[in-house]
């Protein structure tokens, strides 16, 4: 369907463009805004794949939660100094090397054709509500990993509180 393709290319262009802008902006708040825009574009692609739950979770967690704290912290940090400083001033050759390697990888993947990844095509028809499916999978099939992950996060959280608080 044509509309789907248009939407996909729109979101993809937005994601890539914002990502590039995020890296190149000097101003940390501007970078953060472009990162938000990238994340939103990726959420848009999720929605276009009819993964509604993933779309919403991407927005709530990354954009509405984590990035808010990012922006919060960036604003507290002295920006005047950060803006004046050269970013990555001695790492440009590392970045160049990495870019070359990744670019090479992309070329290889492109050359070897669609068979490099065994992807299922997106289902053509509307999928059933997937919030329920995600829940079922998480709490039945992957119950143990899920709980381990949550305990890990809890430990990290308590650790952060202990470290941040000078005296209890």
């Amino acid at each position: 369907m044509m509309l789907d393709s248009i939407l996909f290319y729109f979101f993809a262009a937005l994601a890539v463009g914002s990502a590039i802008l995020m890296v190149t902006r000097r101003n940390a708040v501007h970078s953060a805004v472009f990162l938000i825009s990238t994340l939103l574009a990726i959420a848009g692609i999720f929605l276009q794949l009819q993964a509604e739950f993933l779309f919403v979770v991407q927005i709530i967690l990354y954009v509405g939660g984590i990035m808010v704290l990012f922006v919060f912290v960036i604003m507290l940090v002295n920006l005047d100094v950060a803006v004046r400083q050269m970013k990555f001033n001695r790492q440009s050759w590392v970045a160049g090397l990495l870019a070359l390697v990744l670019g090479g990888l992309a070329v290889v993947v492109y050359r070897s054709g669609g068979g490099a990844f065994n992807l299922m095509g997106a289902p053509a028809t509307t999928m059933p509500p997937n919030a329920e499916q995600v829940g079922t999978v998480l709490f039945q099939k992957y119950f143990l990993p899920f709980e381990i992950a949550s305990i890990l996060l809890l430990v990290a959280m308590i650790g952060a509180v202990v470290m941040a608080k000078r005296k209890i």
Binding site: L76, V77, N78, L79, D80
Partner: protein
């Protein structure tokens, strides 16, 4: 909160992070400094480590003007000091000059003076309550308070033609006889007013947010209060039972029964409670006085040109905000040699630093409100 632009961003950030001591400037143009008070705060994180009040933005040289005016001519000027309690200012000045002259106002004048002054006390406390509540974020009490204040101002207007800077009294008594229906109007106001106070109290007194914002905020203990020369409701809220109306009665206060409300903890909430109770007591005084206004002259025979004998006098009254004293030196001419005013707001403001230390920045607004300052009086 922060007013000046010359504080760099770095400084404001530390306020939030609570790392260093920074200087914060409030005023002179700030919505909740009640005029042109400027407060410099030294902050340790969100807490006030020290503070300094910078005054003088409204200085008009009232005391100096007095030296170039005759005694009668100066009387309207005192209204412009505490402009929300002009009647009380006038009473203090007139009585001080009478004392200097060795004259005394006739009984009828003294009773009418008492009634009007007590009404003025209620009006002044109403302005305080409305603005104080507004500073803490309660919008509605302001309008209720101004509704009742309007009634009082109407009585003033009917009596002497002016509402705010009334110049209601003259040296030696009163210029005007009370108007027809004066007694009934004051009585009707007083009878309504007890219900009105209940209304304010339902909005604030037991409100959890109000309690949270005022209890334990800006504590001033009795010893500090006395040492700093604090007077009025601020002193009484700290637990000192001191009221010039009882200690050295003037006007007609010795004839009436009333209580002196006293606080316990000396915090903002106690000062609120004390002022609310004072309004009730003022109402009772008015009701007692209105029952029995003596007849007779309203003006003592003191002559048209006032030439007090050389000498000096200090006379203090209990103004709504505290002890309002006039120290007048006469050199025997028609103009005073020196007039010195002891303004209650100015001296109560000294306690600001004591109250504000260790409190949060947001409490500073509440503390400025609770002292009940009028900058016209502080700066004169």
């Amino acid at each position: 909160m922060d007013q000046t632009r010359n504080n760099s961003t770095a400084e404001i950030e530390t306020t939030v992070l609570g790392a260093d001591e920074i200087i914060l400037n409030m005023g002179p143009q700030h919505p909740s400094t009640h005029g042109v008070l400027r407060v410099k705060l030294k902050l340790d994180g969100e807490r006030v480590a020290a503070s300094e009040c910078i005054i003088g933005y409204l200085h008009r040289g009232v005391e100096k003007i007095a030296e170039h005016r005759s005694y009668q001519q100066f009387a309207p000027y005192v209204d412009r000091m505490d402009y929300v309690a002009a009647v009380s200012n006038g009473l203090g000045y007139c009585e001080a000059v009478e004392k200097l002259l060795g004259a005394e106002a006739p009984p009828r004048a003294r009773v009418v003076r008492t009634i009007l002054t007590e009404l003025q006390r209620i009006a002044s406390h109403l302005v305080w309550l409305g603005t104080h509540a507004l500073d803490i974020g309660a919008l509605t009490p302001l309008f209720y308070c101004f509704r009742e204040r309007e009634e009082i101002l109407k009585i003033f207007e009917k009596y002497c033609g002016a509402r705010l800077t009334t110049h209601a009294f003259r040296i030696g008594g009163l210029q005007y006889e009370t108007y027809d229906g004066f007694e009934e109007e004051v009585k009707r106001f007083c009878e309504d007013f007890s219900k009105r106070i209940e209304e304010y109290e339902t909005l604030l007194t037991e409100n959890r947010i109000w309690l949270g914002r005022t209890k334990g905020v800006g504590i001033l203990n009795a010893a500090d209060a006395i040492a700093l020369g604090v007077s009025g409701p601020v002193l009484r809220a700290s637990g000192v039972k001191w009221d010039i109306r009882k200690a050295a009665p003037y006007a007609a206060y010795d004839q009436y029964k009333f209580e002196i409300p006293v606080g316990k903890n000396g915090d903002t909430y106690d000062r609120y409670i004390v002022r609310m109770e004072e309004m009730r007591q003022s109402r009772l005084i008015c009701l007692q006085a209105i029952e029995n206004i003596p007849t007779g002259a309203i003006m003592a025979r003191i002559g048209k040109v006032l030439k007090p004998p050389p000498g000096e006098v200090y006379h203090a009254i209990e103004a709504p905000k505290g002890e309002l004293g006039y120290y007048i030196v006469s050199d025997g001419t028609t103009q005073p040699y020196r007039v010195r005013v002891r303004p209650p707001s100015f001296i109560n403001l000294q306690a600001f630093d004591k109250m504000a230390r260790g409190s949060l920045v947001a409490d500073v607004v509440a503390i400025i409100g609770t002292i009940d300052i009028v900058l016209g009086e502080v700066d004169r």
